[in-house]
Amino acid sequence: MTTLVVKDEDPYGHGIGGWLSHVGAVIFGIPDTYRRELRLHRRRTIALTIMTVILVTYPILNSAFLAAFSRNVFPLPLPDDTTVTLMMIFGIMAIGLNIVAGFAGLLDLGYVAFYALGAYTAAFLASPHWGSISVVFLANVPEGFPGIHLPFWIIVPLAIIVAGTFGALLGAPTLRLRGDYLAIVTLGFGEIVPVVFRNLSDVTFAFSLGPISIGAQHLNLTGGSLGINPIDAPYLPFANVTFNASAGYAPVYLGMFLLLFAILIARNLERSRIGRAWMAIREDELAAEMMGVNTLRTKLLAFALGASFAGVAGSLQASYLGATTSDFFTFSTSILVLIMVILGGIGNIWGVLLGAVALTYVDKTLLPYVGQQVQQIAPSFPNPAQFNFLLFGLILVAMMRFRPEGFLPNRQRAAELAAHTQADVEAKVDAIGAVDIQAETEAAIEADPSAVLDNTGPPPGQDETGPDARSPETIDEERDL
């Protein structure tokens, strides 16, 4: 009965129309939101604006003139279009893994499996792989062309469904396990999926069920170790743009578009009842369960949703590169994405994005460049580009020891990690106090519930009373009831 009353006050109406008008209100409210942000966080907003402008215009500038003289002007090489596209792809993955590892606190060491599932979804549904049949639907290939050819815009939602489903299938039996066991199970899954794709290239089977006999001889399901190629590139029909590796900066913008969506969805989830439930589970799973949170289901949701982001990234990667093989999807890729998340700041979307951009740059542009220089000076010296994971391994060890919260930390996660690493209560309180002062001004914005697009995290207290002698700072260590 209360809902009836509120419905009358609902400014947006109902159903799709209501939602669209809401989205419209948000979009048209952007100038206002921006002005408010500028007023409340002047320096940060200006910095973000400049970064956004650089990011958005970079690909065009790069192709126009930066590439021509960058080597002479800048001390370090600038990333080319391929690298920037990969930054977007890894950005989507990092944001997805952040949902699992950052929001819900579950360590997934086999995240690459979902990336592979996304890539193979694109490979199966937009390539001449199934040569004996021809299904062409709204795709940029001639009618009657062998194989299944669906447009990228249909493949992305399918990849989301496939990866999400497998995420749920893997999670359902395993999410009861403790954190480290779960990590190993996901690692196993991440290894099995590429092996299956590699080995199912020559399938012979036969069985009969009553009068029906089904069988196949030497059926090539997955392309084996050669993988599947060519895969149709994403294609925008009316503008007649093909987003493939030779299309210059166009794919960068496709990646940016999908990344923007990923950011939006992840942020929306974070600031919803589901986001709160994830954080509660991360802090104290048992208390969350006692407060009515279906912890198993909520963790499963994190797993499936996180996986679906990797599905998007995979389908984009395969469509953009035009080929896929199981060799792309190794354990080290899972770890690479994990390092992006940890380096940037686990739990913080902007942090993990920074991690993805920085690490992709190091991996794809900086190390190859350094390698080239080294080879010129000392040809017999090992090429640093081949030992990228020596560097990444050292980063992992160093980060865990010296800065587990990452370089752009989520305040909550930083405090949780600090609480564990520093034994004495005093230090903990100091750390929180310091954060509090910095965050004081930010409390104002949370007080405004209409702020739909604001990007402040949950602010801690406006003032710090400090714990009295009985302050239960040690409750996280006590696991009894």
Partner: protein
């Protein structure tokens, strides 16, 4: 703000306790819990009348918290029956008993606090309370992902009712402080607000005045009485402070070594020689 469902809402699908029991919210029969060889709770029959404040007392290790944990579905009894509001919390399965999972028990209307406060420390006080209301929110993940109008409306309502609860426990001006930055007494009250957000019919308080000074304890006692008077809650209390127990309880049940040794009004229990013996040691009752 409405707290607690109207009583009798679930009456339609109730098996119904025998008429002689009166209006009983929690009914346990022969509840036993063994941990290995240790019998923590032994054959406990225990009723909580609707709308009452009942205290569970006993020396340390008497099995009080274990009993709490069985009501909330965290432990499954080794044997026995527990009913809440006419619905069984413990079900018989082919391979023994099976409890409802704690989150379903919470959804039925049991809210609780913890002996060692278990707030979500780095979530704000407001978000702690909002989390408590999670079980009553209907928006799904796609609503959350797309921020549908229904979801925004629900969030706004949830925010409002959570602020109301913070107001109820006098914490509205600390709504945006991290739970763990609050002083001890505030944390205790915040935990109660969080439990109230689950819209419980029964509130389980595990030593709510532990570590409090005299005036804080008085405030808490008044507050618990108000919860019953204003919100119509039934309260089950574990408490060591006898002044609190004697001051607010309608009925007191005494556990010792997992067994109920006395049950009745505070005055009855205080005079019971078995209780005196349990607390002061054997022989004390005779002197």
């Amino acid at each position: 703000m409405s707290l607690g469902n109207p009583s009798g809402q679930t009456a339609a699908n109730t098996v119904g306790p025998p008429a002689s029991d009166g209006d009983v919210l929690v009914r346990s029969r022969g509840v036993t819990k063994r941990f290995g060889g240790l019998v923590a709770v032994n054959n406990v029959d225990f009723d909580i009348p609707r709308g009452s404040i009942v205290s569970l007392i006993g020396p340390n290790g008497a099995g009080k918290t274990t009993f709490f944990n069985m009501i909330t579905g965290f432990y499954t009894p080794t044997s026995g029956e527990i009913e809440f509001d006419g619905r069984p919390i413990v079900m018989k399965r082919r391979n023994g008993l099976r409890s409802l999972p704690p989150h379903e028990v919470a959804a039925l209307g049991i809210g609780r606090t913890f002996q060692n406060i278990r707030l979500f420390g780095t979530m704000t006080a407001l978000d702690n309370v909002r989390l408590g209301a999670n079980v009553h929110l209907k928006s799904r993940w796609w609503d959350a992902a797309l921020r549908t109008p229904g979801m925004l409306r629900e969030e706004a309502e949830n925010r409002e009712s959570s602020m109301d609860l913070l107001r109820l426990v006098n914490l509205e001006d600390r709504a945006h402080a991290w739970a763990r930055s609050l002083p001890y007494g505030d944390q205790r009250r915040l935990e109660i607000a969080r439990a109230l957000a689950t819209k419980p019919k029964l509130l389980l308080l595990d030593e709510p005045t532990a570590g409090m000074n005299a005036s804080e304890t008085r405030d808490m006692t008044t507050f618990i009485r108000r919860l019953r008077a204003d919100l119509g809650l039934t309260v089950l209390l574990i408490e060591h402070d006898m002044r609190v127990v004697m001051g607010i309880s309608d009925r007191v049940t005494v556990l010792d070594y997992g067994t109920v040794i006395a049950e009745g009004t505070p005055t009855d229990v205080r005079r019971n020689p078995k209780v005196i013996e349990a607390y002061l040691g054997r022989g004390a009752a005779d002197t």
